[in-house]
Symmetry: C2
């Protein structure tokens, strides 16, 4: 059992992009990396086998809020933690539930002690505090666990953002304290990543980044972005905090984003990403490709019998045709979203893998500027 | 391009069960066989890869009614037929649409010429005749195509059943005539199976079986059963018609059934089966196993971390636990129905494979009597 380590392997000469290697007790993650979101212990619509063998995911997310409500702590503890429960034997990261409490639950009340909220499933009342959220994440047993924070909405006035940031920082100290008082349950180490907040205020972001950097955690996260602010503001905040965060620790930008967002933020020095976009949009029929996005419900694909994605790397890309997948979405057949999910996740993982290769080659910045305009077009 | 052939390989000494081999232009099918239902060109909730490699399906069904409405004849013809469209390179059988017109469409009117009906999708008006249903099945391009028949409801009075049977027989002659006047589109042969009807009236069934047997088709089907009648009546009718149908041709019992139904009807001499039960019930959380059925929504599995099915042959059976799959159904996660679909189809294919082995060994009847009571219990 040993703490997470990060080896910075290459730095792009013309941007702040980095290639690195994270080592955890469940194996190695090569960065930059995209982490598929497995909210309730399953990445929606895909088997663990396809996630491992076709998508080649190196780490997946779980959500503390969802897992706490279902299947619940008793089942997860008896299972021996989430890795045993869902059969994913590579690294797992759990979100702290902070974001979900604000976005999903009802009647939430934020106090210094913690948050009271009602379950979005059955209306039952619950309390999250920094302490019990650490205990819950001990029970879930992820390799990387997140600090319990407040994620302010966007837009949000300066006073609210400043007060909220104070709570987030004080809660962070309580998270670290609780972790120090407890030990992992399942024989592998757990690493707390603190989260930088501060809304879109540069001085708050700077203050938060300095506060977080000083904690000396094994990795650091940037939260509260991609919540509705313009992309330029997101890039500006990310750039600012990356300039403050230590170079020798991995940086995780939470909840981001489109393929173009990923490449732009890799250029700013981000190493880790998660987002529901590839899976959620897949279920709506949107595919991401090197030549832009495709709406598979569109009649234009009706008689297009070419492979789903000529440049794609997944088994679904060469086996199935555009016309067939269009038919599946038109007929509301489950296989449509299964194929789209496999495709999109495979594409996201390939995107960050290609970025890594370009960083190692020293040609990332130029390559990024070439591909970003294509990634954002509609096919 | 050559017509379907059937080789009768073994006959069980203590029942009418048979083991055989059907050869089509898309390969061999070992009987008895179960055919997964791929209504709209996709077996719901499973990839073609898992269907082939894990389930080991040898032949799948398509439905003329659904494929005619979506994706439609233009797309299927341009694709080069259903095999090209959905990538399934093994045998395919298409139902004629007769059953779907009666069960799904609105405002249907049956006349001697054919049936007018409204689409269940958009209410648009259509006509099916024996002739155009043959043309449609030429365009879909299945290896085995079914006669256009009327499937009477259950219960149904004798007069209705008798008149309906007359129509079904006259339509059959028109189907054969139309096929003689046309040729396959895609370079592989297509084989028409006529369908025995006659509701639950022994004399009508006998009349129909004799009429159909005299046609000398490459295979014969039994329709209009498993529509609500008691199992004993279904077995009685099946036994009766099997005693009349030629031994040297495969016999297909349409729309049947539970695992116990399959074994009982194999004992009566049936070679081919299809049913939505393994896939539809999977989506509702019901698993079929050698020890009976399991309702995966049941709280009793909440903390049962044993493999999904200890006697199962599918990759999902050993990889996932009962507790995890129970959680997936409780949380309404897509992966639950994906796992259940793979499991159930794998189980059905293994059931008929095991039956075949027992027939070849000469121990089928005894084995069937041992396993049937277990198959029907609730776990």
């Amino acid at each position: 059992m040993s703490a997470l380590t990060f080896e910075l392997q290459h730095t792009d000469p013309k941007s702040n992009a980095r290639a690195g290697k994270i080592t955890t007790d469940h194996g190695v993650i090569e960065t930059p990396i995209f982490m598929p979101v497995g909210t309730a212990g399953t990445v929606k619509g895909i088997t663990q086998q396809d996630l491992k063998n076709d998508v080649k995911a190196e780490i997946i997310l779980g959500n503390t809020y969802h897992l706490y409500l279902r299947p619940g702590m008793d089942t997860l503890y008896k299972a021996g933690g989430l890795h045993q429960f869902n059969g994913w034997d590579r690294p797992i990261l759990t979100d702290s539930g902070g974001y979900q409490v604000y976005s999903l639950s009802e009647n939430r009340k934020i106090k210094e002690e913690g948050v009271t909220f009602k379950s979005h499933i059955d209306g039952s009342k619950h309390v999250f505090t920094p302490e019990n959220v650490m205990d819950i994440q001990r029970t879930i047993g992820a390799d990387i666990i997140m600090a319990f924070d407040e994620c302010p909405p966007y837009p949000c006035d300066f006073e609210y953002a400043k007060n909220s940031l104070g709570i987030t920082h004080r809660w962070l100290d309580r998270c670290f304290k609780r972790l120090d008082e407890t030990t992992p349950h399942y024989g592998h180490d757990q690493n707390l990543f603190p989260i930088i907040q501060g809304s879109c205020y540069a001085d708050l972001r700077k203050e938060s980044a300095e506060y977080i950097a000083a904690k000396g955690a094994t990795g650091n996260a940037i939260g509260g972005l991609s919540v509705g602010e313009p992309h330029e503001v997101m890039y500006e905040m990310t750039d600012l905090v990356c300039s403050i965060l230590p170079k020798e620790k991995p940086r995780y930008l939470m909840g981001v984003g489109t393929p173009a967002n990923l490449l732009e933020c890799i250029a700013l020095g981000v190493d880790m990403f998660d987002c529901v976009m590839p899976t959620r949009n897949a279920r709506n029929g949107q595919l991401f490709t090197w030549q832009g996005t495709m709406n598979m419900r569109n009649k234009k694909w009706e008689n297009d019998f070419s492979p789903l994605d000529e440049e794609g790397d997944s088994f679904v890309d060469s086996f199935y045709t555009k016309a067939y997948v269009r038919h599946l979405f038109a007929a509301e057949e489950l296989l449509g979203l299964q194929i789209a999910t496999i495709h999109n996740l495979n594409f996201y993982l390939r995107l960050v893998k290609k970025a890594r290769e370009k960083i190692i080659e020293g040609t990332f910045a130029q390559w990024k500027n070439e591909v970003v305009p294509r990634l954002s077009q509609r096919r």
